[in-house]
């Protein structure tokens, strides 16, 4: 856990941040409106005596007070999808509309793909890209279970995904996952600044390609479940470069408290604009950790 010390300067109320790491995270799920309405689903859970609580910031998100929510009939039938609370944020920031064409560049296991699909009411097209063959299976099975009809799966290396243009692109990048410590203790023991810098190379290339594949006026969302600035602000700054072809838009989800992206790291100034991006910390909303940036292509 000492590893987190490197974030002492950037995380507000660092002691609480450190303390919450060993508190396990509650189970949570998203209601899949492709197959059921919120009202019907809640009625069912009540009838069955499942204890739950709606997220106060997102009516389709539920905290489930139950040990194995995966075993619920509602899950097998695709009425709900087990998903981390903050994992529901990036699609909402992306804001896909029915009929649009969307690229989800790093898609498996498809929690965000299927959320995007439901926001689009199964209309339009989502390309869910996932290069790893082993990870295509869970992506496919989640799409099938959730009744998704507007997703096609490709297997390109996201750095070389060949053609667009798309209305919106999500880059939910492979990352060091520091923000998952509450879910899978031990994650932090595998983290190091070197590892973050290795991932950064890949992340910058993924984001650059996403920006290239987006229509003028289109939106790119870059997200990770990690705190390391090397994988977050520094990636966004490097991918956007100097040109004013892109601008950052403020990320803000009403009801969820974000901290502004950092504008200084290890004594180095970063672009002021990065404060538009959002850092979500576990001790502030009682969640995991996430970073989200919203980029508009001019």
């Amino acid at each position: 856990m000492d590893y987190l010390d490197r974030y002492r300067e950037i995380v507000p109320d660092y002691v609480a941040f450190q303390a919450i790491q060993c508190q396990p995270l509650y189970n949570s799920a998203r209601i899949n409106t492709l197959k059921i309405t919120r009202e019907k689903l809640l009625e069912r859970l009540e009838e069955e005596g499942v204890l739950f609580q709606s997220f106060h910031w997102y009516p389709l998100g539920l905290k489930l007070d139950i040990e194995s929510p995966g075993k619920l009939l509602e899950n097998l039938l695709g009425y709900i999808h087990i998903q981390e609370e903050l994992s529901m944020v990036p699609p909402l920031v992306l804001g896909p509309e029915p009929g649009e064409s969307i690229l989800d560049l790093c898609a498996s296991p498809g929690s965000k793909t299927t959320e995007i699909s439901q926001m689009m009411e199964n209309r339009g097209l989502v390309i869910a890209n996932e290069p790893s063959l082993a990870r295509v299976a869970p992506l496919r099975s989640n799409c099938e279970r959730l009744g998704v009809l507007n997703v096609a799966v490709t297997r390109y290396d996201g750095r070389n995904f060949p053609r667009g243009p798309f209305d919106r692109v999500l880059v939910d990048a492979p990352c060091s996952s520091e923000g998952r410590e509450r879910r899978g203790p031990g994650v932090l023991s595998r983290c190091s600044p070197e590892r973050s810098l290795d991932l950064q190379v890949l992340q910058i290339d993924l984001l650059k390609n996403a920006l290239r594949l987006t229509k003028p006026g289109g939106v790119v969302v870059y997200s990770t479940c990690t705190y390391a600035p090397e994988e977050n602000e520094l990636v966004v700054q490097a991918a956007l470069g100097e040109a004013d072809e892109f601008r950052l838009e403020k990320v803000c989800i009403p009801g969820l408290l974000e901290c502004p992206g950092i504008t200084e790291w290890n004594g180095k100034r970063l672009s002021d604009e990065l404060s538009c991006t959002a850092r979500y910390y576990p001790h502030i909303n009682d969640t995991g950790g996430f970073y989200v940036a919203k980029i508009i292509k001019n």
Binding site: E48, V50, L73, L76, G78, R145, A152, P162
Partner: protein, 161 residues
């Protein structure tokens, strides 16, 4: 035509909607409009449905949802497809009671009385489509894929209120 597009066509071949609609109409009485907004492709012995959009020229792993297999006769609907389109079925459907539903969801076989024709049926429980079953001579064999089977749905009894 560029080599890439001809490659797509060799893998996912577009199919007439009316062809598919007729098969589902004949077996399950599902009306054609249930498939409005979809288009269909065939790849090897499987048929896929996707929202009615133009697909960019890419090399695809899957296109939409795998809705049926034509590997054997008769053609077999997938459980995923029945959970979407099966609720419009007007024939060859079965309603199970709780005990029967549990066996079905566990992937089991059981004796059931019904006037369904021999072949694949849409299986319901309390208004939900559970999935695809194979019915013949008074026996229902669950076709629920392994990863979607359930040990028990009797959880409400298990949890103290």
């Amino acid at each position: 035509m560029s080599p890439r597009s001809s490659r797509i066509r060799n893998i996912f071949e577009p199919l007439e909607k009316s062809l598919i609609a007729k098969l589902w109409q004949d077996r399950f009485g599902i009306p054609g409009p249930a498939f409005a907004g979809c288009k269909f492709f065939r790849k090897a012995r499987s048929i896929w449905a996707i929202s009615d959009v133009d697909l960019p020229r890419l090399s695809y792993e899957t296109i939409g949802m795998r809705i049926m297999s034509c590997k054997d006769r008769p053609w077999k609907p997938t459980t995923s497809a029945l959970q979407i389109f099966g609720r419009y079925a007007t024939k060859n459907l079965l309603h199970l009671n709780r005990e029967e539903a549990v066996i079905f969801l566990e992937g089991g076989s059981q004796g059931i009385e019904s006037d369904c024709e021999i072949g694949y049926v849409v299986v319901f429980y309390r208004g939900d489509v559970l999935g695809c079953g194979l019915y013949s001579h008074g026996k229902l064999v669950s076709q629920i894929p392994k990863e979607r089977r359930m040990a028990s749905i009797a959880r409400s009894e298990d949890c103290p209120v």
